[in-house]
Symmetry: C2
Subunit: 352 residues, 2 copies
Amino acid sequence: MGAISSWQWNCPVEVSPASPRITLPHGEGARLTRRLITETILPRFGTPPFVLSDAAHSVAGGNRLALTSDCHTVSPLFFPGGDLGSLSVYGTVNDLAVSGAVPRWLTCGLIIEEGLPLSVLERILDSAAEAARRCRVTIVAGDTKVVPRGAADGLYLITAGVGELTDPVPTGPPSIRPGDCLIVSGPVGRHGIAVLCARNDLGFDPAPASDSGPVLDQVSSLRLSAGTQLRAIRDATRGGISAVLHEWAIDSGLTFALQDTDIPVTDDVRGACELLGLDPLYVASEGTIVAAVAPECSARALRELQKLEACAAAAIIGTAEPRGISPVTIRRAFGSEQPLDEPSGAPLIRIC
Amino acid sequence: MGAISSWQWNCPVEVSPASPRITLPHGEGARLTRRLITETILPRFGTPPFVLSDAAHSVAGGNRLALTSDCHTVSPLFFPGGDLGSLSVYGTVNDLAVSGAVPRWLTCGLIIEEGLPLSVLERILDSAAEAARRCRVTIVAGDTKVVPRGAADGLYLITAGVGELTDPVPTGPPSIRPGDCLIVSGPVGRHGIAVLCARNDLGFDPAPASDSGPVLDQVSSLRLSAGTQLRAIRDATRGGISAVLHEWAIDSGLTFALQDTDIPVTDDVRGACELLGLDPLYVASEGTIVAAVAPECSARALRELQKLEACAAAAIIGTAEPRGISPVTIRRAFGSEQPLDEPSGAPLIRIC
């Protein structure tokens, strides 16, 4: 659209060169995203049931429903292990699943850049449809907008989902108690690294693959084995498990103490992270969950989880403790407990 | 993002210069949009309950729900009579209302271009929140993505909505019978003309204002006064009332015969249309509906509708007839019945 953005026409707000502006880290899913949501969005849209992430719970007549929405702007559209289409379906299905719902219906909005080859669109839609079949959800409605060249980048998919809550719904981060165990369902950071490598053509061979996929079986396993002892559960997307644990620390008032050597990381993710100067704890997964489980059933929950093919590397990676030196800490291989900072500022953008 | 689009990285589909590509008219809401949906999207996402427009109906336990989704990419973000924020809420609320549902919950996704002034975002969100309050819906969940400069144009809002169906749900276009009357709730084409004039700074004084607003009261009035005699109802958005009637003609097998002199058009819209070479029948409204009502209650339905402040100009503009020379016809002031072509190709883009 050239130099003039659409907001500059008829803009009723005075904008000076010094006006605060949205920056890329505002979309990273970490501290600046939370500030944007809590300071700019939440005060306008009201507090509960508005949720920062995952799904809001509502009651329709006798039915308890969960609702969620995700905008998917991943670049590139195709990456090892997935693509925009399947990622959009799994992202929304997973948000519903970790909120305690059985995903039922999705809507799918398309914002298409003029000039996108029809074959690319078809391939992405094929992939979304296949993902929906795999998750047994129905895509029931959609919307299609085409914007001129330069007003989008290829294709954005926006999914919203509705699920039906089933008991016992995990009670959530405020119910986490000191001593509770943190379980991760597989190696962390695979999605973010796969997309970064694909985007920048870093030449890894084989290229790292995303873990993009449904977490329905993982969630079912944990809910079945831990029941009401399953306190909270989340898919570790933007900001990685660090972002999830920092949010939980705010909601619970506790410290989450991680043991570095217990956290599963694949060799290729570790290698790429070293090369790129990243910490896998801050890098997104798209098919891997973190759960807080009462200590008395954590061993059994882990054992059951590991029976799933995708979760062979599941592990207990830390515990909840009374609030200590920092909301999240990590004990590295050789060393003492250190604060793990909240992610902020590293522009891992457009990975989902 | 410069010359390389994200689909060009790792694209698994062969794309030649001659490959069919998405063009702007694919997003116009008319013939090419319908072809894209029926040939490319529907075969992948399955047939019913997937819907071309408005809302899909689903059953959750004992509850009958309506679901819908809209992507809003209007340019400019602010225009006389509305802005992106209120337009997004009303658009989704209206889709639910015309499908026979009481709108309850919305989700709201934001795709923000890096560099957008925070004050512009705040103004848009204020407007969305105010619109939600006016419609008594709750925005329950959201998602925020930031994309680099040039990968969006300012701000896109994507809303999805859930409503609860209430009886009697209008039976829809297939139930329209020869003799049924077509009622329009107000002057047509105001939204599209307002946005076009704002975008191109055409210098009309006063600038034409959009009709962007909720149609809840209009729909309630018609449902109450016509009951089961209300066959079908639609908000005449992209493609205008011509697009709505062409869709209804396909679904009903009938011809819709319009009387040009009965169609309410404001002077400023008529003037702008003459200047721009447009026909107001093809231009979007965003707070005006078309309804098909059985002849025996059409006079009463119209009278009740006209009692609403926004609907003083409501009118009966035509009738359904057995299929004749064309799916939609119009009798101009001095002349015989002529076919009204289906809108296709006039790039009235980014008006919603």
